[in-house]
């Protein structure tokens, strides 16, 4: 006798048969909220922790206080990393800070992300804005949108993320509450890495080789 059921029906039947002895109310969902025990400190402590954790992950993090410091930091970065091309997120914070203009003034060619971002493969620098920051792990949350394609933080050799202090979140729990409904988002913690050869840590595999996080503290710098 041939079996005309679809694979879906067969799998569901097998699952239900396998669970026939399990009453519906058995094994209730535990209180996962108890797993979020990190209370967090005040803003100063949290920023301090964030900078330290980014450094542990192989990245470079610093505080930026005001527009002048931002301009100087950007100039230093362009010089140090010999940046010739860059792609910039179109999010509010970067637009207001006129980052694109600053780059143009420094003779950096600006690229726009086309399609999935293949054209950014040879780009030197990608600049994005963090939607949330997790000090405990030195992590930034980047929500993918038209203004901020994910290729910006993936294909260029250097990934620079700007974050406002108000983006600080206590725990993964809070970050997921913010972005859990999105179609696509990423958590980034330092540059790409591997320890696949003799457990020796090597930074810069397929993704960016360098990761910079700047916490921009000036009231001039608005939230993304």
């Amino acid at each position: 006798m041939s079996d005309n059921r679809t694979d879906r029906e067969i799998i569901f039947n097998k699952v239900r048969e396998g669970l026939v002895s399990v009453a519906p109310q058995s094994f209730p969902m535990p209180d996962t909220g108890k797993a979020f025990f990190r209370s967090g400190g005040d803003m100063e402590e949290e920023i301090g922790l964030l900078l330290a954790e980014v450094a542990k992950m192989g990245g470079t993090a610093r505080r930026i206080r005001g527009q002048d410091e931002l301009v100087a930091a950007l100039a230093d970065l362009l010089k140090k990393e010999q940046v010739k091309t860059a792609a910039v997120s179109d999010c509010g914070m970067l637009r207001e800070q006129k980052i694109a203009e600053l780059l143009k003034d420094s003779n950096v060619d600006l690229l726009r992300c086309e399609g999935a971002g293949h054209n950014l493969s040879a780009c030197d620098l990608g600049i994005t804005v963090a939607d949330a920051v997790l000090p405990e792990t030195g992590t930034v949350l980047l929500r993918t949108c038209r203004e901020q394609p994910q290729a910006l933080s993936l294909l260029p050799r250097i990934c620079l993320v700007l974050a406002a202090p108000s983006a600080l979140q206590r725990d993964l729990h809070n970050a997921f509450a913010l972005a859990g409904g999105d179609r696509h988002f990423i958590l980034v913690s330092g540059p790409s890495r591997t320890a696949d050869i003799e457990k020796i840590l090597t930074l810069g595999v397929h993704g960016p080789k360098f990761f910079y996080l700047w916490v921009c503290e000036s009231e001039l710098i608005s939230l993304p």
């Binding site: 094994f27 792990t137 988002f185 913690s189």
Partner: protein, 482 residues
């Protein structure tokens, strides 16, 4: 249960293990366990144990309500523009992937490291159709070049030294290279960047699927996972049906446990969250939900917890057997203690019935497991299945072994026979005994003495125990008198 997989002979496999593999495996394990201990200590032992307990109960809840959560995943992925497929077995999963590839005229595929894709041997299926599949995780890239299987779930090339890898790159990639991990990594980066950009399809697995939104979660370090799932115009994720978590809070719990247990870091470099089709992403997103024996595991109340596994590899790092023989001795996709309980259930004990015996039952795997899978209990349960059979499978051990096991059970369970046997051992050992040791025994017992001497039977345990008890109780009395 029938399987096309060749029978796994663990004992035979261990004979070809070179000492170099044991050394490399132990080096990996020591580093991984040290780093894990550091991050667990930083979190606090009580918090860690609390997290493990929550994760265990959450996995138990999910697996015992799997039908409900599978429906939810299907509904949410479809609503987000993804296409959900169901595959009973490896053959069906490969057929689905090949159909998609054919429709899009795919010639080149880039792959994220995925144990499920190893399980279904998708690379072979693609190659047969003239499609080139590139493993893009560095470790997987190395073992693919070498024509080998991964030897660890999170560190596929741990059995190879940097010198081995440099030799391999010289032979296969025709590059003159020194055995420097940084240089070797740079070569892989350059070689694979072009493939990422040219591939027409990306294939991934999935660490978890969040049921409440239908979100695929990928945990990676190298950036290849993000490239494979965003640059090609088609993304196909092949995921086992057990990888579901109910909600975002559950996902956060498991992510905290996974990175700490797998790599000894608080978090990996990249965690990617994909729900169906997304802005700037591939034109098509396909999710293939794979059974391939998992529903059989689900039906076994004792072994069901095998499905809790989050593939962190911590049980491998701590296992004294795995650390001596390496991953290839297990002869299949999943090595180590989790492989010893998963493979016999997926492939049948006729194929992998030797693996539950490849354990000292020390219990370290269970203590280190982030989701508290009782691996030793399941190993014993499967040993019983091999010898006696149960409602899942008939016994598969040879008739002589089953008869010997029955006879031994009878002897050990009958006091007079047990005492007689104990005395007989002391007599029989006389010609072989040299002091406190027996340096040689006749076959098949010689397998033991080839590696180390056997301790001689000394005295009568029951007498010794009685004597010890008297001494202990007299000590206790003296303490009371004081």
């Amino acid at each position: 249960m029938k399987s096309a997989h060749p029978r796994i002979d663990f004992r035979a496999n261990t004979r070809s293990v070179s000492p170099k593999i044991a050394a490399a495996t132990q080096k990996n394990a020591q580093t991984a366990l040290r780093k894990r201990a550091e991050v667990v200590a930083a979190m606090g032992e009580e918090n860690w144990q609390n997290l493990r307990k929550i994760a265990h109960d959450m996995r138990l809840h999910t697996i015992t309500h799997l039908d409900r959560y599978l429906s939810l995943v299907e509904e949410n992925v479809t609503a987000a523009g993804g296409i959900v497929h169901w595959a009973r077995d490896a053959e069906e999963a490969n057929r689905i992937v090949l159909d998609i590839a054919r429709r899009h005229n795919v010639k080149k595929v880039v792959k994220v490291k995925s144990m499920v894709s190893e399980e279904i041997e998708i690379n072979h299926a693609l190659k047969k159709q003239g499609i080139r599949a590139f493993e893009t995780d560095l470790g997987e890239f190395i073992v693919q070049l070498a024509g080998q299987r991964p030897s660890h779930v999170t560190n596929p090339a741990l059995h190879m030294t940097k010198e081995d890898i440099a030799d391999l790159f010289r032979e296969k990639l025709h590059v003159d290279v020194q055995p420097d991990p940084k240089v070797l990594t740079e070569i892989a980066r350059e070689r694979l960047r072009g493939e990422f950009l040219a591939a027409e399809m990306g294939i991934s697995g999935g660490n978890f699927i969040v049921a409440e939104t239908g979100t695929l979660v990928l945990v990676t370090n190298e950036g290849n996972g993000r490239m494979c799932t965003s640059l090609p115009p088609v993304h196909v994720a092949v995921v086992g049906i057990e990888k579901i978590v109910p909600d975002w809070e559950s996902a956060a719990v498991l992510l905290k446990l996974l990175a700490r247990s797998a790599t000894g870091s608080k978090i990996t470099a990249y965690n990617t969250f994909i729900t169906g089709r997304w802005e700037g992403g591939p034109k098509e997103f396909h999710l293939v939900l794979l059974d391939n024996g998992r529903t059989r595991v689900l039906a076994d109340e004792i072994a069901r917890e095998t499905l809790f596994c989050i593939r962190c590899g911590a049980c491998m790092n701590i296992c004294p057997v795995y650390n001596q023989v390496g991953g290839h001795a297990y002869g299949g996709t999943y090595p180590g203690p989790i492989g010893a309980i998963l493979m016999p259930q997926l492939l049948g004990t006729g194929v992998a019935g030797g693996l539950p015996f490849a354990s000292t039952l020390c219990g370290a795997c269970s203590e280190v497991c982030p989701v508290m899978i009782p691996i030793p209990d399941i190993l014993l349960h499967l040993r019983r299945r091999v010898l006696e059979g149960d409602r899942i499978e008939a016994p598969t051990a040879p008739a002589w072994m089953r008869a010997a096991a029955k006879a031994l059970r009878f002897v050990l369970g009958t006091k007079m026979l047990y005492l007689f046997g104990a005395r007989l051992n002391r007599v029989l050992q006389t010609p072989l005994r040299r002091g406190d040791w027996i340096p040689w025994m006749p076959p098949p017992l010689s397998r033991w003495t080839m590696a180390r001497p056997f301790p001689a039977f000394r005295g009568d345990f029951r007498k010794w125990w009685r004597h010890r008890t008297v001494k202990d109780s007299s000590l206790q009395e003296k303490r009371h008198e004081r």
